[in-house]
Subunit: 599 residues, 2 copies
């Protein structure tokens, strides 16, 4: 079996659960039908399994090194990225006007996932580059695009995003990097950027940094942030590589996981002029960066999901082949041992992983479909609705998989026992890799504040209203299956609980108390949304059962079991969290610094 | 501040919560009073902070290597263990008749903890050796003890426990290592042992392995397991080192964490005779090994706890000194940033860590005190009662901290953000180290089966009855503080829930269903016991508040806040789990292998 993708499940999610056929029937995607998409996925899977997966462990053990001011990376990384480029895979997410394949984003997202599972460290270079290209396409001036975009789209140059600084991570308001306008309209960039993935290496002729900086004299805080394109090497007007742009590699960060992607501390303008070019307008930098950030945030959740998937598939395969112990009712040590997949607690750990991972996967693909719907919308109202839903779901897409697919990885290790704890098996690497996802592109807490402090209230609660309507549609549709009645009731009650919670929050005497449990709200909202995804899957499974032969029955029964698990074991924990949020509990905010350990 | 121990809290737990004074007042411990114990803890803390802690990260990055059939370990490890030995610290846990310091076990346990926090990898060598010595003392013949025990007690030779084999981890019934009796009464040992911590190195003149093996012709399964002392080098009658005993190092395991302790695959009797000596009787090996295993299991929980503590203290110190962002109500970016310890979500993560870590620490020290009480008991009834309680609590001591102090470490990383995810800071190492503790000395699932399938029922439920009585005593005592009334009610209700759950389990149609949710029962029982520990601490805090001056007030208020958090946010999750266990939910056991991903 493949340990990076379950294609049967992917088809189930795309076609049976999310109705991708209706997307494929549109003019925009007329080049694609199920067969064409299967062929592209086949190609991607073979590149991922043959060119990415084999050296993922080796890369983890041989992280990029700082040697004489340069980054040394094992040669397999460049080779894998060349294979990815040669197969045309850099182009899956772009529209045809950019020379791209114009695949539905759902398919592009699913396809990307295989590379993350196969080799997280390598895949980051490609996805960062795609994010930079999309942002430049959306916000850049025509001359800037003409000069830089084709090379990024083709994957000849790679891209990065440079937001954080050593003293400013979550608090972007406090960045200090300066951009001083020059007579020729370019800017001189000075400052230090931290945590820059792909920030320096020798694998491409150039690296295009998207840098947040402040133009002196502008407003304080986030309102004074501008966005600049800053190349590692300057580019001549004829497109050839020019002078070095004086971005000094000050050091590499050595992480617990994600070791395959070089992660850098960069000094701009320290040893000579570093020239940058404004992207969009001055002081609009944060909004422009969010073109990339929102994509990156869903990308983080997508990565967390498929790293969870990797652990699930690997531990399932292991459990089916590792004999250990006997059934509890068999006390005869002379009988053969059974495979551990027969033990109840191993089944628990597998089903829990399945419910988390496939639930998260459904959400990620649903969100990708919203992007497709934005593009396909024929009215402003449709477009706005899809955008609102996506805005509301983004913090959940980013955070829920980070939390629960990490938990899945923890269980994958447990299934392998002592073996799972060694670096001979990939599951501990998944666990280390996945721990990053709570942190980057906005911490868990930041997304809690985002959803509870902003997203659920924006435009008079329009996004939440749209989400509630979508869920209500699923509830109505599920009425055709009486077996789903209890789940529908539970989900409807959870939705009421969300509204009641927000009502209580609205009456909070101050913002600090209202948002004191924002993280719990975020997690709980995630559970509601994932429960909804499981209801959709259960309905699709029942539909499938009615139509399918014996061969497909176990697959559909597995879906129903995972849905049952999620509603029985997981959703109630969300209800308890909403109650805590709603009562404006002040246990945390009341805690004084001196109370933690005394003095 | 120290980042390995909070001495104020340790004193609070030992004296104010657990009443160590009554132990110190006994004849057995008459050499010790509070001052003497503080002096010993001071000594241990300085050795741990000066000799162990400084190179913990360096050791993690430079794990033992296999070179020409031998293990190479960085020299700091041997030096640290020499400093530990020179300070007399190998002797803290032994009675005076063995040349030990005869410290109360509570103090010994607390003292050991500092070394685990400071440098887990190094501490293991010492604690394994102490465990082997205690087992040999309890089960070995006089000649065997005369020959081996003094060297182990003094820490001149180190010890190991050899249970697992590549094909037999959890399923000890299936070990294959053979022990064939020789005419001189010794045994020839052949077989392969896996996951042997400290299994080979050059730091001591000898290594004493305690090996489980089967004598041919004995009963099948665990009833045919015997225990052998097997030295790396044979020992002449005059105590000098003799011939090599032919234990071949077949390889090292490379783990995610715990990298400082060499972990080996050992072949016995492959290249020549390996001689072993029976410890105890033939076929009584498992029971004898459990002298060490139970100590080791509590040791695992104790280690998980103090690794959690290390993350808590480090992240607290960081949070107090890292400026980032502003209060939510302050939108002026020109004002200075505040320390992150002022943000509600950081407080949440600190308080959660505190509640987990200090709750677990209370349980570990309570259990250590039960060991002291066993030794101090003047009647069989007292002795039996302490032993029963300890038996019941052992799976909880092992498992609960493994689960929840790992969760604490996850939060410590989150507080440090991107920095926490790098190897420049210790918190990611704690997280990696702590992930082992669910696995070794019996997996989480094994302990679930142990407590629900055996411990709660043994001797007609006598252990659980004793635990219920102890909790009831605390409830009665807490009546003097009306502030604790709600907690008392909640805890009493949880206890009833335990009994109701066991009643429902008793009616299960078969064992498979009865034990299907044993792991959930284990976790939930852990929450009940930790809630009890928090009630005890809250009572002690209220007593302390009444007596103390302004300086100590924040410490006690912090204890009350952690207790509030645990009863409000945590204990209800246990109630939900008991309900699932009680209804004999079959979601997991019904899951067929083919249903996970289809085919």
């Amino acid at each position: 079996m493949s340990t990076i993708i379950n294609r049967r499940d992917l088809d189930f999610l795309m076609y049976e659960t999310l109705g991708l056929d209706s997307i494929l029937a549109t003019e925009r995607y007329q080049d694609y039908d199920r067969e064409a998409i299967a062929a592209i996925l086949d190609l991607a899977q073979s590149v991922a399994e043959e060119q990415f997966q084999p050296f993922a462990g080796h890369l983890d053990e041989n992280e990029p090194k700082y040697v004489d001011g340069k980054v040394e990376i094992i040669p397999e990384v460049k080779q894998a990225l060349a294979a990815y480029r040669d197969a045309g895979l850099f182009l899956t997410g772009y529209d045809q006007d950019l020379g791209g394949m114009q695949l539905p984003w759902v398919v592009h997202q699913a396809l990307n996932g295989m590379f993350v599972t196969a080799n997280t460290g390598v895949s980051s270079y490609a996805f960062l580059t795609q994010g930079v290209a999309n942002m430049l396409h959306a916000c850049g001036s025509e001359p800037l695009k003409a000069k830089y975009l084709p090379k990024l789209v083709e994957g000849e140059w790679f891209g990065t995003m440079c937001l954080s600084e050593p003293q400013a991570g979550s608090s972007l308001a406090d960045i200090r990097t300066k951009a001083e306008k020059q007579p020729d309209g370019s800017y001189r960039i000075t400052g230090t950027k931290m945590w820059i993935s792909g920030g320096d290496h020798e694998m491409t002729d150039n690296i295009i940094h998207m840098v947040l900086a402040k133009v002196p004299g502008g407003p304080a805080g986030v309102k004074g942030i501008s966005l600049f394109l800053v190349p590692k090497h300057r580019v001549n007007d004829d497109g050839t590589i020019g002078d070095n742009n004086n971005i000094a590699l000050a050091g590499l960060n050595h992480k617990m996981g994600h070791r395959g992607t070089t992660n850098c501390l960069l000094n701009f303008g320290e040893s000579g002029d570093t020239i940058g070019y404004l992207v969009g307008e001055e002081n609009q930098g944060l909004a422009n960066m969010f073109h990339m950030m929102n994509e990156a945030r869903i990308g983080v959740g997508a990565a967390a999901t498929v790293i969870g998937l990797g652990g699930y598939l690997y531990s399932l395969d292991y459990a089916r082949n590792r004999p250990q112990g006997r059934h509890l009712t068999n006390k005869d040590p002379n009988t053969p041992m059974v495979m551990i997949s027969e033990h109840a607690d191993v089944k628990r750990m597998l089903l829990t992983q399945k419910a988390y991972v496939e639930g998260a996967q459904a959400l990620i693909l649903y969100s990708a479909k919203l992007l497709d719907e934005q593009k396909l919308a024929t009215t402003d109202a449709e477009r706005t609705r899809a955008a609102l839903l996506l805005d509301l779901l983004t913090p959940i897409c980013k955070s829920w998989p980070s939390e629960f697919c990490l938990e899945a990885n923890k269980l994958a290790i447990q299934i392998l026992g002592g073996y799972g704890y060694t670096r001979e098996y990939p599951v501990e690497r998944y666990y280390r890799d996945n721990r990053l996802n709570h942190i980057h592109e906005g911490t868990h807490a930041i997304h809690g504040l985002d959803i509870l402090g902003r997203k659920v209230r924006m435009h008079d609660g329009a996004a939440l209203k749209a989400l509630a309507e979508e869920i209500q549609q699923s509830l109505t549709a599920a009425q055709s299956h009486p077996e789903l009645g209890d789940y529908c009731q539970q989900l409807a009650a959870a939705l009421s609980k969300v509204e009641a919670t927000l009502g209580a929050i609205g009456k909070a005497p101050d913002m600090t108390l209202a948002l004191a449990n924002a993280t719990a709200f975020l997690d709980a909202m995630g559970h509601v949304v994932i429960a909804w995804m499981w209801l959709k899957q259960a309905q699709a499974a029942l539909d499938g059962l009615a139509k399918s032969g014996a061969h497909d029955q176990p697959f559909y029964h597995g879906k129903l079991a995972a849905c049952k698990f999620f509603f029985k074991y997981e959703l109630p924990t969300a209800i308890a969290k909403f109650d805590l949020v709603a009562e404006l509990d002040d246990t945390f905010v009341q805690m004084a610094d001196t109370q933690f350990i005394g003095s």
